[in-house]
């Protein structure tokens, strides 16, 4: 499966480049994901993928095959496997950055291979999952590159519908921030609005609002590599955090441009953290 993205960031290429090549810098933005080790160009980590009733817990490793600052191109190969033996995942991601006016234009090409049970469905679940996960990261990183949020505070709401991954065949450009993103943005606050219409038992407003339970998100798998079977009591960086309403922080116009940018970064981080497989021989 080949996923292609293009993005624009209002930040200069230097800034974006630094983020792209530094997993440690962007890792906290991936809700709940962890880097268990970074060693030169190699790294390892884990991530829990949740989609409706389906949960997958991938652990993996990867490496920067190529970091060409001159060409502003980075190639990362990563692979991982599900802790319950449900299958493997592997990806080769190529990110290329180029200046675009004041900002940066980037292209991301991801060759993603997911095997085993998650891939055994004819309805393209993996494409959907991958796209949704990228959206989640994008939202956080957009905020982060904008500098208006502390690095320790990850976002949780998959509101950044603008960051729609465009599969190569699907020529549709990422849709602008309407109509659906508008609705989704609303939905980030929807629960809050909804409680202003209390039911008969007079429920009170809740702060913060809950994250939608089934939304695709990533959680930390356990710091030790040797603890693959302890998904229940992991450090969950995301679920306790207050959800961020992007628009309140960044303003719609900024977010609209930033978010797709981050997608590129995310494509990297996503595979970096999510897909890992021990390479031998």
């Amino acid at each position: 499966m080949r996923l292609e993205h293009e993005f624009s960031v209002p930040a200069p290429p230097d800034v974006v480049w630094a983020a792209v090549i530094d997993p440690e810098r962007v890792a906290p933005c991936m809700p709940g994901a962890s880097l268990t080790s970074v060693d030169g160009s190699q790294f390892s980590g884990g991530v829990k993928v949740k989609l409706g009733p389906v949960t997958l817990t991938y652990k993996g490793s990867g490496e920067f095959l190529e970091t060409d600052e001159q060409a502003r191109r980075v190639v990362i190969k990563a692979s991982g496997k599900d802790a319950r033996g449900n299958g493997t995942a592997a990806a080769t991601v190529t990110v290329t950055l180029a200046p675009e006016g004041e900002g940066t234009k980037g292209t991301v090409v991801t060759d993603l291979t997911v095997t085993g049970k998650p891939a055994q469905f004819g309805r393209g679940m993996i494409v959907e999952v991958s796209g949704k996960l990228l959206n989640t990261f994008a939202n956080c990183l957009a905020t982060k590159l904008d500098g208006s949020q502390s690095a320790d505070e990850p976002a949780a709401e998959p509101a950044a519908a603008e960051a729609k991954p465009a599969a190569a065949e699907d020529e549709e450009p990422a849709p602008p921030a309407q109509p659906k993103p508008t609705r989704r943005r609303t939905s980030a606050k929807a629960a809050g609005n909804a409680v202003t219409e209390p039911t008969t038992d007079g429920a009170t407003a809740r702060q913060p609002e809950p994250e939608p339970a089934g939304s695709p998100r990533l959680q930390l798998v356990g710091e030790q590599e040797s603890a693959p079977k302890a998904p229940a009591k992991q450090v969950n960086v995301s679920s306790e955090a207050e959800p961020i309403d992007l628009m309140e922080y960044a303003g719609a116009s900024v977010a609209k441009r930033v978010v797709p940018a981050v997608l590129g970064v995310l494509a990297v981080v996503f595979v970096v953290l999510r897909l890992r497989r021990r390479r031998r021989g």
């Binding site: 009733p53 939905s187 909804a194 039911t199 007079g202 939304s215």
Partner: protein, 283 residues
Amino acid sequence: MIPAAFDYVAPSTVEDAVRALAEAGEDAKVLAGGQSLLPVLRMRLAGPTVIVDLGRIAELRGVREDGDSLVIGAMTTHYDVQRDPLVTEHAALLAVTTNQVADPQVRHRGTFGGSLAHADPAGDLPAPALALDARFVIAGPNGRRTVTAADFFVDFFTTALAADEILVEVQVPKYTGWGAHYEKFNRVAQAWSIVAVAAAVRVEGGTFAEARVGLTNMAATPVRATAVEQALVGQPATAESVRAAAAHAAEGTHPTSDVNSDADFRRHLATVLTSRAVLAAAG
């Protein structure tokens, strides 16, 4: 096809169920009719630590009138929805849609609320729920809240329900006297919709007075074909005008590509099926 071990709780009240979910934490899962959850459990694509079975909560079953609305308990089976006289009279679109959910076995086990909370983009019930502006009553640790259909369906298999919340019931405004049709397109009878269209219309003197059209499997969530609705209102209920309006059906949709159809063909189907659904609804 043997699920991993889990704890099982079968509370008899909504409050107990919510409490059980809160105690169970992140990896709990709610069991309604089990028609989607059980296959996933058996394939070990899910490994919840606790299953909270809503099957013994009487409050969650049944259909009743509440002023201008019908209230459908989340645990009412498809079969009970489809044959309920109130639903047939006031929300015919739900009756005709429910009648096409999967097969008779599934309709006897699967539930109205379970299907909506599962939020499968190819599931049949979200589109009519959206088209009819259904409202979702959700119970959580802090009491109950109500969410519109537009806000309930958030994403692919994702709703406004938090991990510690359950869907209690669905309020559906009455559409008494409306014509309704669900045009489902799939390859074999028990398969998911490739695309389906839920249409409810009110025709006055041969003209569309109101129209509501929902699309199944044309995006990560159900989609309201608002352009079609707007194009219909005020037009004569003829094949020509319906076809012209239905040409807008794919606007604003983001269909997926899978083994049964690519996105382009889905967009094409949406227009054809919308035309048929609206015409059938108009009678």
